[in-house]
Symmetry: C2
Subunit: 315 residues, 2 copies
């Protein structure tokens, strides 16, 4: 019996796949060599989840792997019509980032309520300036995205006594549908974007929606940059339609030094790090090995992405 060929779209550091020794022939590829190596692969591990190389290489000639796993929650960087139409199973890193991202959102909510950025600024200029801050308990949040990340964010905010509503693609128990979004945004103190990037969510946070928000409200994006019309957000902040915002994800990453977003008043910019706590790469590697165990044993895979929708459906 020949061992399956596992093609890894590399990033640094490499995944620790020692447990697969003798169980997979591991072949490495980068953006330049992926297209050429794809036909020989049984499994593709998209370890470099910042790369769109898989999406670009996939439509080419020859056979294709039966299984693709991405070390990320979002699959927008690898999905293409040919992959969606194929029999190849796509799995993702669902679960790894839930709690870290929820904590990151809580950190941003509390930091903004307590005016921490201004405190650090005043410290820099050695100024003692007492201000009143905001109580977080009793405020309202609207979390857009009802997958595990959105639900964990909601649970964490509720633990801080924030009244939290979840919005998903379809209404169900405990989850509002898109029709409720404007109404919920209009009364929220915190609007948090944690949705996958799909045709329905692309650009959903636009000038009209920022216009619906309260002047005292704040917006946080930990989903995908493309959910947001960045120009409209910058304008909403500059014109004080809303009180503040934090973006951890952007349309073009990394943000270049000349991006105007670095200096929008009231905007906190962070480098797509919300889910990445110490040890996250090891957790991602271990998760893949666990899925490989199942695949090898012929058991059904977990975290199987609905390729039409672009995420893992269901609770």
């Amino acid at each position: 019996m020949t061992v399956p060929t596992l093609l890894v779209l590399d990033a640094h550091p490499l995944p620790r796949l020692g447990r697969l020794t003798g169980r997979a022939r591991i072949v490495h590829a980068d953006a330049a060599t992926l297209a050429e190596r794809l036909p020989e692969a049984d499994v593709l591990l998209v370890w470099d989840f910042t790369s769109t190389a898989a999406r670009e290489a996939w439509p080419g000639e020859g056979p294709r792997p039966r299984w693709v796993h991405t070390a990320s929650t979002g699959v927008d960087h690898l999905m293409c019509p040919e992959l969606a139409a194929s029999d190849t199973v796509v799995t993702n890193a669902r679960g790894i980032f839930d709690q870290p991202i929820a904590e990151y959102v809580a950190a941003l909510v509390l930091a903004m309520a307590k005016d921490l950025p201004r405190t650090l600024e005043l410290q820099g200029s050695r100024e003692w300036r007492h201000r009143e801050s905001q109580r977080v308990a009793g405020t309202r949040a609207c979390v857009v995205g009802s997958g595990p990340i959105g639900r964990t964010i909601a649970r964490t905010l509720k633990a801080l006594d924030v009244t939290t509503a979840l919005v998903g693609r379809v209404p169900r128990t405990g989850v509002h549908g898109p029709d409720d979004l404007d109404r919920l945004m209009a009364r929220a103190d915190w609007v948090i974007a944690a949705a996958p990037l799909t045709e329905q969510t692309y650009g959903m946070f636009d000038a009209r929606r920022f216009g619906v928000m309260q002047p005292s409200a704040r917006f946080i994006n930990v989903g995908r940059g493309q959910l947001v019309d960045e120009g409209a957000l910058a304008q909403a902040l500059t014109r004080r339609w809303i009180a503040g915002a934090a973006l951890d994800v952007f349309r073009d990453e990394p943000l270049t030094p000349d991006s105007p977003l670095w200096q929008v008043p009231g905007l906190i910019v962070s480098p797509h790090m919300s889910g990445d706590t110490v040890g996250w790469r090891d957790e991602l590697g271990a998760q893949f090995v666990e899925l490989y165990d199942r695949w090898e044993a012929g058991k059904p895979l977990l975290n199987v992405v609905d390729k039409q929708r672009g995420y893992v459906p269901g609770h």
Copy 2:
């Protein structure tokens, strides 16, 4: 029947005591006039809780008010041996600051775990630099001070899945005694000072205790500046005995521009604002009026400070 005389040690803004119209003769004083007016007062409201004028004026000649209320949790700024030995009842603002301070501590814990100060610094220089951050869930906190503020901090941190130990003056169910402090500090990721200033707590966080902490641990003080040997803390940070700290209270407030504390590496300095959320002064005023209602009706007062210990005992 003559209405009682209520002497108010003023601060700006003044308390809103409209509900006491006709029920109290309200007399205002500042640091210069307090000593002179004290003998005529039935009640003293220390509204300016930053002032030590009450402590200085109290030992003087003449009769003294039967009741002193301070619009603060700490009473260190007003207690003196003569007041402690007298029959005068002292009450404080217990309860008003619990949740705001607990949220402020959570904001600091999360901001430090997620490296938010560095993120803001990098944003200022337009640098995209991804870092790994820390998961807060599963870390350990040691909260020193087992009054309502300490307990609310502990409850809030537990809601974020932080394993939290409380340390108080005497061991009891759910509260460790001082003998456990070194052991708890040695394994804590977060040491949080929320104790009243007493003879026992003065300078308790010194070089030896910072030396006991883990190099990855962080220290937060939201109690009183005098709990901490500030020089020892600065040294512990500079020598990297500990990973970070945040001080909201200081031995001398306000901190002057020439204080070395503004620039200690890894130290977040904030201007004694942790408990002061929007509306806090109204809450303090309403709390005093509620106590006045009881006092006027001859009912026992609440929030009665044990003048020997320097705080409201119980639980």
